[in-house]
Structure formats: structure tokens, C-alpha cells
């Protein structure tokens, strides 16, 4: 009888992992459609809770012992603390801080994977040394990399680009690889393996920092998505240590999904992933002197308000400047005001606008902009010549025509929103600073372009007030 119950317990545990894995897959599938996304998230969460509970109750170690009651109490206490902190922060945080938060939670997942691998390494029952080491390395990179990404998005870590970076990174990566191989093959290592594993842990953490340090803000969506897939892979590696199907499937699944999303982002910029990581942007910063680029023309608030008020079709192109100035609400107000006056207002969303995949969509959704108004680049571009006014708010490289016709430009070949084809262009910008690609934007010198300098939020507020007075 006792033997039977033991077996049943294990079978039920495995079965619950299967159910959890199915819930993950269905959940993510539902998450990819607007109508069912919320349900999908709940399914995936339910799968996770199920796997956590059954593990807690039914898991047995190699000797067949269940998790002791005191351990269960400790675990439940820690989980309760983590859940309360995680959920409260997630509920309270401002929507504009969303990219940071997603990065931070990704970092915690990477850290958990690294710690699990670190401790399982010295477990004599653990026979899968290679996956343990890979889990440690990938998890550590995901952790420190995501923390740096978090810091950059939050504004307290600056880009750090030096020509030497490329070589330092290659050297670090080689060193990490050498230590991994050495730990795999060395029978009598010169330094004890316990020490080496901690050295490897620290090296991987440092590499994660160096890996993200030179990545410019415009490439952030790609890197965040990539780090996300790293965390998934690290979790899968830990899954191998325990031969745990839920972890393996969930982890690999997320790893694959994250990789695909990363590739989609890269494709949207017409660059390879390698190019993003090594960082080609910012290199050829100097404007070529032989090209006559014209002059900058400003527009007054009253002219801008008249132009917008008495027109038919307006397209707003939002960029990171909109998020940075937290101007999404006032932007939505402008949109509503113009719509009430009979103007058709739409938003042109570039796939890599902002600092994380889909950043502009979330930001504008928060400000009550119906998502039917958010039009993707490929769908809005054919309509550009019929557009009366394009308002570029805090976007730069994604509207730079140099991407289309200047083969010497670093962003040449990147698909852009064809703002220059519309009849009038108003560019809201803080100053004449260049975008993250640090290149001259020919759109600003276009004959049809008028600049409205100032903080996006202030400018929009004044503009809304002007239009109300018309």
C-alpha cells in the first residue's frame, strides 16, 4: 500500500506537469490575439500555480522523501513575500515605467536560474554538468544584462561605448567558454572546482554587464526581447538537472518565442542580430559635408493649431520622446479634440519605436487611445501621400528618409514611416539633438517640415489650449 501511494504521487506530479505545460502553450497562443489575450495570461498563470502546488506536495528526493513540513512552511512564507512584493509593485508602478519593470522581472528569473544551477553543481547526484554550467552562465548573463537594461531604461545607467568594447566582450566570452570547458574535462583541476564555479558565476555576471552596456537606446527592444529568451533557456537548462518536463518545455518554449520576437525586431530595423550586439550604430556619426541639407524652419503654436484644426487627415508618429515626456495623455487629448472637430486622426506605429517591443501601443492604450487607431507601419505608408499633416512626437530615426536613399547612412535599408511623403510635417522635438543613431535627420530639413521645439508635454498642452480657442 505505501509503495502504491508513492507511485501514485509521482504519477500525479508528472501528470500535473503535463497539464501545466499544456496551459503554458495554450496561454501563450491565446496571448497572441487581442480578444483572448487576457484569458491566455490567466491560463499560463494557472499552469504555473498548479505546478508549484503539486511540486510542493508531491515532490520526492532521490531517497523517496517528501518535502518536510518545516521546509514547506519556509517555502510558502518566501513565496508569499515574493508574491506580495511582485504583485504590489506591478500594480502600483506607473505605466511609463513598464519597460523597466519587465526588465527587472526578467532579471529576477535569470538570477533564480543562476542560483539553482550554482547550488546544483555541487550536488553529487547531479550528472548533467554541461547543462548545469550552461544554466549558470546564461542565467547570470540574463540577470546582470537585464539589470543594466533596467538601469538604462530608468535613466541611471548611461550608454558606455568604446571601440575597445568589442574586444573586451569577445575576450570575456572566450574566457567564460574556457572555464566551462575546463570544468567539463579537467579531472584534477589546479584550482578546486568549488572555487572555479564561483569564478565562472562572477565572470558571467560581468559579461552580462559588458554585453548590454554599449547597446544604444534604439536597440533596447531587441536586447530586452533577447534577454527574455535567455531567461527561458536558462530555466530549461535547470529543468534538465531535475529532468522536469514542465521546466524544460516552458523554458525552451519561452526561449524560442523570445528568439522569434527578437528576430522580428531585427528585421524591422533591417539589421542582423550580430550587428545589434556588436553595435554598428553611432560609429559613422559625422554628417557628410558635401551634402546640402537645407535649413530648419520653425512653426509657431498658433500656426500649428490652425494647420491641425482646419485639415482632414492627421497622422501622429510617436517615439520615445513621447514616453520620456510622459505626454501620452495630453497627446490623446489632442487626438480627441481634433476628432471632435471632424479631423481624422491616426497613429503610425513603427515596430521598434520606444524602448521595448510594442512600447508605443501600451503607452497609448494607457491614455485611452482605441487600438484601432494604432496603425502599423506597412499599413499606413501607402496612405501617407494623402495625409494632410504628420505630427512627429519625439520620434527621430524611424522617420529619417536617409534610410531610404542615402546608402552611406548607418540606418540605410531600415524600413521607416514615410512621413516625408505627406503634405505637411510638424516635428515636435526638444532640441536639435540627434537620435540614438546619432545621424542627421533629413526630414527636419524638408521643405514641408516645420519644427516645434520644446518638451513634448508642454508643446502639446499649449497646442491643445490654442486649438480650444479657435
Amino acid at each position: 500500500m505505501p509503495e502504491n501511494t508513492m507511485q501514485y504521487g509521482e504519477i500525479i506530479l508528472d501528470f500535473s506537469y503535463l497539464v501545466a505545460a499544456i496551459l503554458f502553450v495554450i496561454g501563450l497562443k491565446l496571448l497572441s490575439k487581442p480578444e483572448s489575450a487576457k484569458r491566455g495570461n490567466l491560463y499560463a498563470a494557472a499552469g504555473m500555480v498548479l505546478a508549484m502546488i503539486t511540486t510542493l506536495i508531491l515532490h520526492k528526493d532521490a531517497e523517496g522523501n517528501n518535502i518536510a513540513l518545516t521546509n514547506v512552511i519556509v517555502i510558502v512564507a518566501v513565496i508569499t513575500v515574493g508574491t506580495v512584493i511582485g504583485a504590489v509593485v506591478a500594480r502600483r508602478i506607473k505605466m511609463t515605467a513598464m519597460p523597466q519593470l519587465v526588465s527587472f522581472y526578467n532579471a529576477t528569473g535569470g538570477a533564480a536560474s543562476a542560483l539553482v544551477a550554482l547550488m546544483e553543481y555541487s550536488n553529487p547526484d547531479n550528472t548533467s554538468i554541461l547543462v548545469t554550467l550552461l544554466g549558470l552562465v546564461i542565467g547570470s548573463i540574463a540577470f546582470s544584462g537585464s539589470m543594466i537594461a533596467y538601469g538604462k531604461l530608468d535613466g541611471w545607467v548611461k550608454d558606455w561605448l568604446s571601440p575597445l568594447m568589442k574586444y573586451i566582450n569577445l575576450f570575456m566570452l572566450a574566457l567564460v567558454t574556457v572555464i566551462v570547458v575546463y570544468l567539463m574535462v579537467a579531472v584534477n583541476p589546479m584550482v578546486s572546482k568549488e572555487v572555479l564555479i564561483y569564478i565562472l558565476f562572477i565572470m558571467a555576471l560581468v559579461y552580462g554587464v559588458f554585453f548590454v552596456m554599449p547597446i544604444g537606446g534604439a536597440d533596447m527592444p531587441v536586447i530586452i526581447s533577447l534577454l527574455n529568451s535567455f531567461t527561458g533557456i536558462a530555466a530549461a537548462m535547470a529543468g534538465f538537472i531535475y529532468s522536469n518536463q514542465a521546466m524544460i518545455l516552458g523554458g525552451i518554449f519561452v526561449g524560442a518565442a523570445g528568439t522569434i520576437l527578437t528576430i522580428l525586431m531585427c528585421r524591422a530595423m533591417n539589421r542582423s542580430l550580430l550587428n545589434v550586439i556588436v553595435g554598428a550604430f553611432g560609429g559613422g556619426g559625422a554628417v557628410k559635408g558635401d551634402k546640402e541639407i537645407g535649413i530648419i524652419k520653425e512653426i509657431s503654436l498658433s500656426d500649428a493649431s490652425v494647420l491641425l484644426n482646419y485639415t482632414q487627415k492627421v497622422v501622429i508618429v510617436p517615439g520615445y520622446g513621447l514616453a520620456a515626456a510622459q505626454a501620452q495623455h495630453i497627446c490623446s487629448e489632442l487626438d480627441k479634440l481634433l476628432t471632435d472637430r471632424g479631423v481624422e486622426v491616426k497613429y503610425a506605429i513603427h515596430p521598434v519605436a520606444g524602448r521595448m517591443p510594442g512600447h508605443m501601443n501600451v503607452l497609448l492604450a494607457e491614455a485611452d487611445v482605441p487600438y484601432e487607431k494604432l496603425v502599423e507601419m506597412d499599413d499606413i505608408n501607402p496612405d501617407m501621400p494623402n495625409t494632410d499633416v504628420v505630427v512627429v512626437i519625439g520620434a527621430n530615426d524611424v522617420v529619417n528618409p536617409a534610410a531610404l536613399d542615402d546608402a552611406s547612412s548607418p540606418i540605410y535599408g531600415m524600413p521607416i514611416i514615410n512621413a516625408h511623403e505627406s503634405k505637411n510635417i510638424i516635428v515636435m522635438k526638444r532640441g536639435m539633438g540627434k537620435g540614438y543613431a546619432a545621424i542627421e535627420n533629413y526630414l527636419f530639413y524638408n521643405d514641408k517640415t516645420r519644427m516645434l521645439f520644446g518638451n513634448a508635454k508642454d508643446s502639446l498642452q499649449k497646442l491643445v489650449a490654442e486649438i480650444k480657442n479657435l
Binding site: 504555473m48 538570477a111 531567461t231 514542465a246 501601443n361 485611452d368
Partner: protein, 105 residues
């Protein structure tokens, strides 16, 4: 060669799971509208918190009789994993709430 075959034999189930999950992941994510890139990434991020299971197993069989580095790291692993799971799902839910609200209008 023999080693490779033996390795494959030992891990064949895992290798099958990996290959099939990769295809599944690609299949599920393809053709996602960019509106949903952020929630999707955030939801996937929460799922990668499945490492919490590893944390539970680790801490579950840890020796609680005295304080040790292992115990401290184990607690940290469970805490981090929980943050990833709870924070990830709640943040995703909150993002999706905003999309939902607009739909009914």
C-alpha cells in the same frame, strides 16, 4: 561517434522535447500583431519564471537545521523566482486591462 550516439540515447526524450518545443514556440509566436508584442513578451517572461519549480525542489530538500550559504541562496532563488512569476503575470494582466477597456467602448 559512439559517444555522440550514446549521448543521444541517454537524452533522447529531452532532445525530442527541445526540438518540438522550439517549433511550437515559433509557430505560436509567428503573426502576432505588434499591438501585443509587449504583453506577449511580458507573459512569456512570466512563464520563464517556471524556474521557481527548481527553487522549490532545491529549498524543499535543503537542510534547515542551521544557517548556511546554500540555505540563503536557496531562499533567494525561490524569492526571485516568485517575483518573476507573480510580477510577470500581474503586469501582463494590467497591460491587457488597458486594451480590454478600449474594446468595450
Amino acid at each position: 561517434m559512439e559517444q555522440v550516439l550514446l549521448y543521444f540515447n541517454e537524452y533522447k526524450e529531452a532532445i525530442f522535447i527541445i526540438i518540438l518545443s522550439i517549433f511550437l514556440g515559433i509557430e505560436v509566436i509567428s503573426n502576432v500583431p505588434s499591438v501585443l508584442h509587449t504583453p506577449l513578451m511580458s507573459g512569456a517572461n512570466a512563464i520563464s519564471g517556471v524556474i521557481i519549480i527548481g527553487g522549490i525542489i532545491l529549498l524543499g530538500h535543503a537542510d534547515l537545521s542551521g544557517f548556511s550559504l546554500e540555505l540563503a541562496l536557496g531562499i533567494l532563488a525561490v524569492l526571485f523566482g516568485t517575483l518573476n512569476v507573480a510580477g510577470g503575470f500581474v503586469v501582463t494582466d494590467r497591460m491587457l486591462d488597458m486594451f480590454k477597456k478600449k474594446k468595450s467602448n
